[in-house]
């Protein structure tokens, strides 16, 4: 930090804001994010939904699109309406693509549509079609039309991509519910932001309680605390671990 000098091109206040970024903040919103997750859980899709819902805020009644390629559909199944967040379940449009090429086409067409709140894509593995060029196309379209894209990569390695934020997600043990400690609680995920444009990487434990996005405490954190996000009144975030 000492190396940064206060110059007009590099003002310290802006840097300080960036350093304190955490999930759920309105600033630094990425239109194209990738979430890497295993194909044996619904973690990636669940985290993408929670982040998308948190970013979209409430009151948005536009439909949203969920694109899956065939391998992703076989690995993790179809969206199940009774299990979706109640604010989203009636607005879902699902696209079952046969191949990654078709899925990318569907994603790009969906991002051009002004009537969609957000788009979630699920693509399995590292298909050849999802090259840096394809990824860049998606980024440009998403930023041009302002429709956020959350691309879930199931069982993929971290290849080249132009996504503005790249997360690695894995499940975290949930907090025991109050009335039945032996039952699984509200979902929680261990989220590692390993690459982002504009802010430093970090690790958080994100959670969802009903329709709220919350963050449970992490043991490795030096300064855990509860942060109420002013943008969405219903979302409360517990910042677990901010990098640096």
């Amino acid at each position: 930090m000492n190396a940064i000098r206060m110059t007009p091109e590099n003002p310290i206040p802006a840097l300080a804001r960036v350093a304190e970024w955490r999930p759920g903040l309105a600033s630094g919103v990425a239109r194209h994010a990738e979430i890497f997750a295993s194909g044996a859980q619904a973690t990636g899709a669940a985290m993408a939904l929670a982040l998308a819902q948190d970013q979209a805020g409430e009151g948005d009644e536009r439909p949203w699109l969920w694109v899956q390629d065939k391998a992703a559909l076989r690995l993790t199944g179809r969206p199940y309406r009774p299990g979706l967040p109640s604010a989203l379940r009636h607005r879902l449009i699902h696209v079952a693509a046969q191949s990654p090429e078709d899925a990318l086409f569907a994603l790009e067409e969906a991002l051009r549509c002004r009537d969609l709140a957000f788009v979630i894509g699920e693509i399995s593995g590292n298909p050849k079609a999802l090259s840096l060029t394809a990824s860049r196309r998606l980024s440009l379209v998403a930023e041009r039309h302002g429709v956020p894209l959350w691309l879930v990569r199931l069982g993929a390695s971290r290849d080249l991509s132009s996504a503005r934020m790249r997360w690695q997600a894995r499940p975290a043990p949930s907090a025991p519910p109050r009335w039945n400690p032996r039952a699984p609680g509200a979902p929680a995920w261990h989220a590692e932001l390993f690459r982002a444009r504009g802010h430093p990487p970090g690790e958080w434990v994100l959670g969802e309680d009903g329709d709220r996005l919350v963050h449970g405490p992490s043991t490795s954190s030096g300064r855990a605390g509860v942060v109420i996000i002013p943008k969405t009144a219903q979302a409360e975030l517990v910042e677990a671990h901010a990098h640096g």
Binding site: Q41, T43, R112, R114, P173, P176
Partner: protein, 546 residues
């Protein structure tokens, strides 16, 4: 009040269809010698069709081949092919829709086309007939044609009337002179016939002179009428209706009842063979001076058609839901490409873009000579400013346009939305429907139990390695990986739907579990030990929780 405009039916009779088909295969030279097409019957080969040389030599249709050989020993034979003829006729019926939007088979050797309102595309009915004659002759088919207000009359004139007859029924008030006189109009060509509509049943001019067989009666009835001395349609007209009705009161089939056929001929009773087209779908077409074979030209033609169709739709304040593009090829094939849209639209650029993908696999062959665009399914669409393509760059596309593009490339079944269905079974509790269709009335969802975020299409069996005494799994293997259950909630018992499933279907006990790493799943046990519906209960993993 003016009477409703009459319909115009074109009847095509391919008098020597089997022979023409044979000649197409064998060549013209083979036709110079006496030849008969043979049908095998129980009593030996019989002549199904004979060419001109054979007829001259004495052979007749339906004659036994042995008798024909006695008259003309050098007669050559070839097997007839009724199934092939019928298949050919079916193709021809589709091809004949170039003259009108609707056609019907008239087996074994006829086609009926509804040309109501389509004759102006060819410059009148006489020109339409000339066009049909020329095209059929170019395909080597001997055809007799007639246009009349009813299918019965057109059929009668094509089979037994003058060549290229065009028949009009005149209202009885306009008829002058003798009742039912055929009026030969010198100005409109020799084929033009007019026939006074006569409600008293006295006579119908030119139709009077046609033989009884022109009524499309079966053989037995024709023989019966001939034995009664009734040889022409005019003979029947002389009888009273009551007498005919009494004589044929037991004949239910129209082909056995001359009175029904007579009424159909004159249009007094509707003929169920032909549907009444109350509203004609918007239709535009381009006849091409030069058959086109290249994609760029085809795109141009389709763009023109689309533009014309959009104008047509705009004039009627309609939007198309389904479009059919028909491409008539020089070699007699018809290519049809259909397009269905999620919402009524008449945006030319949008339609064109959707058609672009459908035209990729067109094989033009020797060329396309006629292109037609129909909108068989339209919905009212008010005039308004619509923007699909130009403004899409700046403001994005609308949802309907986006869904159209997706379903054209991925298929209509690929783009759907889940809606609840009244069922206890988890996999039946949601069904899929088109994305813009309205959601049906439902009971609402009861949020008693947590449900997984995603459901596998088929529940996958898991191997329980260790279970606690109360039956809950403690350790299981799924997709080759061992999971230690850390926490579980259950059972939630869901009984089979006995009203639609067999009695041997087992109930399910669902558990929501979380393993030691926090992975959350939804598993169930099918059946309980000792329920008498199979062996030991099996475990399945059905859902992935958030």
């Amino acid at each position: 009040m003016s009477p409703p405009p009459s319909r115009r039916i074109l009847a095509i009779w391919l008098a020597r269809l089997a022979l023409d088909r044979w000649r197409l295969g064998a060549g013209d030279a083979a036709d110079a010698l006496p030849l008969a097409l043979i049908a095998e019957t129980a009593h030996g080969p019989r002549i199904a069709q004979a060419n001109a040389a054979a007829l001259e030599a004495g052979a007749r249709v339906h004659m036994m081949l042995a008798d024909a050989r006695a008259l003309c020993p050098e007669i050559a034979t070839a097997p007839s092919d009724p199934a092939g003829d019928l298949a050919f006729l079916e193709k021809l019926a589709v091809w004949a829709q170039r003259w009108g939007p609707w056609s019907a088979l008239d087996p074994p050797d006829g086609v009926i086309v509804d040309v109501t309102g389509a004759a102006h595309l060819f410059g009148g009915e006489a020109a339409l007939l000339a066009d049909a004659r020329a095209l059929l002759a170019a395909r080597g088919l001997a055809a007799r044609l007639a246009v009349a207000p009813t299918a019965g009359a057109a059929w009668a004139l094509a089979h037994h009337g003058p060549q290229n007859a065009i028949l009009h029924f005149l209202p009885s008030s306009l008829r002058g002179g003798k009742a039912g006189e055929a009026i030969q109009s010198p100005t409109r060509g020799p084929g033009l016939l007019r026939c006074a509509r006569n409600d008293e049943g006295e006579g119908w001019g030119v139709l009077d002179d046609l033989p009884i067989a022109a009524l499309r009666l079966d053989g037995a009835t024709v023989v019966l009428l001939r034995r009664l001395g009734l040889k022409r349609i005019g003979d029947i007209a002389g009888l009273g209706r009551d007498a005919l009705a009494r004589r044929f009161r037991t004949a239910r089939a129209p082909s056995a009842n001359p009175l029904v056929r007579l009424d159909q001929l004159l249009g007094r009773v509707p003929e169920p063979l032909l549907p009444v087209l109350a509203a004609r779908p918007p239709l535009v077409q381009r006849r091409l001076a030069e058959p086109i074979r290249h994609r760029a030209l085809l795109d141009r033609v389709v763009a023109d058609l689309t533009e014309a169709m959009v104008r047509e739709l705009e004039g009627q304040a309609l939007g198309a839901r389904r479009l059919e593009l028909g491409l008539w090829k020089v070699d007699g094939e018809v290519l049809v490409r259909r397009l269905e849209m999620a919402a009524a639209s008449r945006d030319g650029a949008h339609i064109l873009r959707l058609f672009g993908r459908k035209l990729d696999d067109i094989d033009a062959g020797f060329g396309i000579e006629l292109a037609r665009l129909r909108a068989p399914w339209c919905e009212p669409l008010g005039l308004r400013q619509s923007d699909f393509e130009a403004a899409a760059e700046a403001h994005g596309t609308s949802l309907a346009a986006c869904i159209d593009r997706l379903s054209v490339r991925l298929g209509a079944d690929a783009v759907r939305r889940p809606v609840p269905r009244a069922s206890h079974l988890p996999e039946r509790a949601q069904k899929w429907q088109p994305p813009l269709a309205p959601e049906g009335a439902g009971q609402g969802e009861l949020a008693f139990h947590a449900r997984p975020l995603k459901l596998l299409d088929r529940a996958e069996p898991i191997a329980v390695l260790y279970a606690s005494p109360d039956g809950q799994p403690r350790r299981f293997r799924w997709r080759g990986r061992v999971h230690e259950v850390a926490r579980a909630e259950g059972p939630e018992r869901i009984a089979p739907e006995w009203w639609r499933e067999r009695s041997s279907v087992r109930l399910r006990d669902y558990y929501r579990i979380e393993d030691e790493e926090g992975r959350r799943y939804w598993i169930y046990r099918a059946g309980i030990a000792g329920d008498g519906r199979g062996g030991a209960p099996e475990w399945f993993l059905q859902g992935l929780c958030a």
